[in-house]
């Protein structure tokens, strides 16, 4: 069970965003896509989600080109939590989570299967408490969990999240990370774009580091998060050390001196 990209290239108005990306993503793993602003992380994630068609190269799911899959079938397999936590109408949290069932719906109304999946997603994210509250009245932390529940409700094999921690306080960020981790441990393929290197070090099984539209490094934490790579890609001077519990931690000292 893999998502694979081969020689993926993408450009907006002749400005290259991604060039020749080759990468493999495994089910049952929490993969984090890293890279500085403008490195092409969101573009790569959108290509994996099948909502952006690369100019050359392919993104494929178990060997099938994602852009050639029927959109509904693709949506059942690959769930995307888009950037920006966008919601437009004051609908209830439960109604928002139910939107995740759209790829499964035929005809009007919700089936027993839909209702089971919705309530499972809401209980996994501890959002049942405000099921009937309009999403516009939720706090940032509650809203982030409801939006994740929306993705989980679709029961996709793959969960793609674009900056799911943006604008959240550390406690809520950890809630979301633990939820994503749980999904990976339950066998789902989880791929998230993150900005926070410290979280990436602690939560990721696999890392993909992008730099200026190219794949700079991929592999385990030890292979990718090295002081040399961080200096080259982010221009930062960072230390890695083991804490008293033996977990790898990252400390950013400052910018690299020119």
């Amino acid at each position: 069970m893999t998502l694979t990209v081969r020689n993926l290239c993408f450009a907006y108005a002749h400005q290259p965003i991604l060039e020749g990306i080759d990468a493999t993503f495994d089910a049952g793993k929490f993969t984090v896509i890293l890279g500085p602003n403008g490195a092409g992380k969101s573009t790569l994630l959108a290509s994996l989600a099948g909502i952006l068609k690369p100019q050359t190269g392919t993104a494929s799911l178990h060997g099938t080109d994602i852009t050639r899959m029927p959109p509904t079938a693709r949506a059942r397999q690959i769930g995307l939590l888009p950037q920006g936590a966008e919601t437009h109408w004051a609908i209830s949290s439960e109604a928002l989570v139910a939107l995740g069932r759209i790829p499964h719906m035929r005809g009007a109304g919700t089936s027993a299967d839909d209702r089971r999946a919705i309530s499972a997603a809401m209980s996994a994210t501890a959002t049942e408490g405000f099921a009937h509250r309009p999403v516009t009245l939720l706090s940032g932390g509650e809203r982030a969990r409801v939006l994740l529940a929306r993705v989980l409700a679709g029961e996709p094999e793959w969960i793609l999240a674009d900056e799911p921690l943006a604008n959240l306080d550390p406690g809520f960020q950890l809630d979301i990370l633990h939820l994503l981790r749980q999904q990976a441990e339950a066998g789902k393929g989880v791929i998230a774009v993150l900005h926070d290197l410290q979280y990436a070090v602690r939560f990721a099984d696999h890392l993909v580091l992008l730099h200026q539209g190219r794949l700079f490094a991929q592999g385990g934490v030890d292979d990718v998060i090295t002081p040399a790579n961080l200096a080259d890609v982010y221009g930062i001077d960072a230390n890695l050390f083991k804490d008293e519990e033996g977990a790898v931690q990252l400390f950013i000292k400052g910018k690299v001196r020119p």
Binding site: G79, E86, W89, I91, L99, I102, M105, P134, R150, G154
Partner: protein, 321 residues
């Protein structure tokens, strides 16, 4: 009140407004003389019946189009005029009156509908990318262009009578329409309404933004086609047969949201019913105002609608603040 009961109530109100529209006027025509072989029976069959049916259809079309466009653009200020289809249909109608083509059978309707169809094609060409921005800008350009050309035709009208006929038609009314007008407009409206009612799930998905909707398997390009075609056919036909009746498409979805909540798919059918109720009631009221000539429906709608809408906004803001 649950949604089923609410919808039943709206259906009942629609029926009541329809019956009111059949009866109300300078001469009240009660059901016992609907089939009578006298002046009352004639007025009923030839004047009241087509007028009430048109009121019902046009109101439903405008309410539904407003709800769909607000959902699609995720903007509560959108209404059926944003696409420029109404302005284009109006231009076609005005052109027909100016050239005298309106004297041919179905001349005005055909011209207005052709003009609306042209605007649909232009919109589809302009907004090929499937983005919302091109769509709005395209609509604005069309609307402005059609408005300017309409003003131009009025300014070159050969005599004051022609100009006044044009202006009168533009202001929107359901007076003196025949059953033949109903039968011409109905297929376009029915097709448009069917297309628009099919958009509910996609509009719901757009609650999550364009990327969210796409990731749920929604084809936004196809959705845009359906909306342009649906609104174009339905609103184009209503303008062709009644002139421009404003405000219904803007105000009705707001009223319905207050009752049904904001989920886009949930307000489509109720907005159609609400639009029909509002239009039928307003069109009955304009007939009852004393005076030598009727107030035009389009004007009455704006005059009654604007303060009501303002009141509603003030109350709503107090409620949520």
């Amino acid at each position: 009140m649950n949604k089923r009961a609410l919808t039943a109530l709206l259906l009942l109100l629609t029926l009541a407004a329809f019956l009111l529209s059949l009866m109300a006027g300078k001469v009240w025509i009660w059901p016992n003389s609907w089939a009578a072989d006298n002046a009352d029976g004639w007025i009923f069959l030839e004047l009241r019946l087509p007028r009430a049916v048109l009121g019902l259809c046009i109101g439903a079309v405008l309410g539904l189009s407003g709800a769909v466009l607000q959902g699609y653009l995720r903007n509560p200020l959108a209404d059926p005029t944003v696409l420029g289809v109404s302005a284009s249909a109006a231009l076609g109608g005005v052109g027909a009156i100016y050239t005298g083509l309106n004297l041919l059978p179905f001349g005005l309707f055909t011209c207005a509908m052709l003009s609306a169809g042209l605007s649909i094609l232009l919109l589809l060409a302009i907004s090929r990318s499937g983005g919302v921005m091109g769509f709005i800008l395209g609509g604005m350009v069309l609307s402005t262009l059609a408005g300017a050309l309409t003003a131009f035709i009025i300014s070159i009208a050969p005599n004051p009578f022609a100009a006044s006929e044009i202006i009168n038609w533009l202001m929107g009314a359901l007076t003196d329409r025949l059953m033949a007008d109903v039968w011409t407009a109905l297929p376009f409206m029915a097709l448009g309404v069917a297309l628009l009612l099919s958009t509910g799930r996609a509009l719901d998905a757009l609650t999550l933004g364009e990327n969210g909707a796409k990731s749920l398997g929604i084809n936004l390009f196809r959705l845009q086609w359906i909306i342009v075609l649906g609104v174009g056919l339905a609103v184009g036909a209503s303008v062709a047969v009644s002139g421009v009746v404003g405000f219904v498409g803007l105000i009705v979805p707001h009223l319905i949201r207050a009752l049904y909540g904001e989920q886009p798919s949930q307000i489509l059918l109720p907005s159609a019913l609400g639009g029909a109720i509002l239009t039928l009631t307003a069109d009955s009221l304009v007939r009852l105002v004393p005076g030598p000539s009727e107030v035009r429906l389009g004007i009455a709608m704006a005059v009654l609608g604007a303060p009501f809408f303002l009141l509603l906004l003030l109350r709503y803001r107090k409620g949520t603040a």
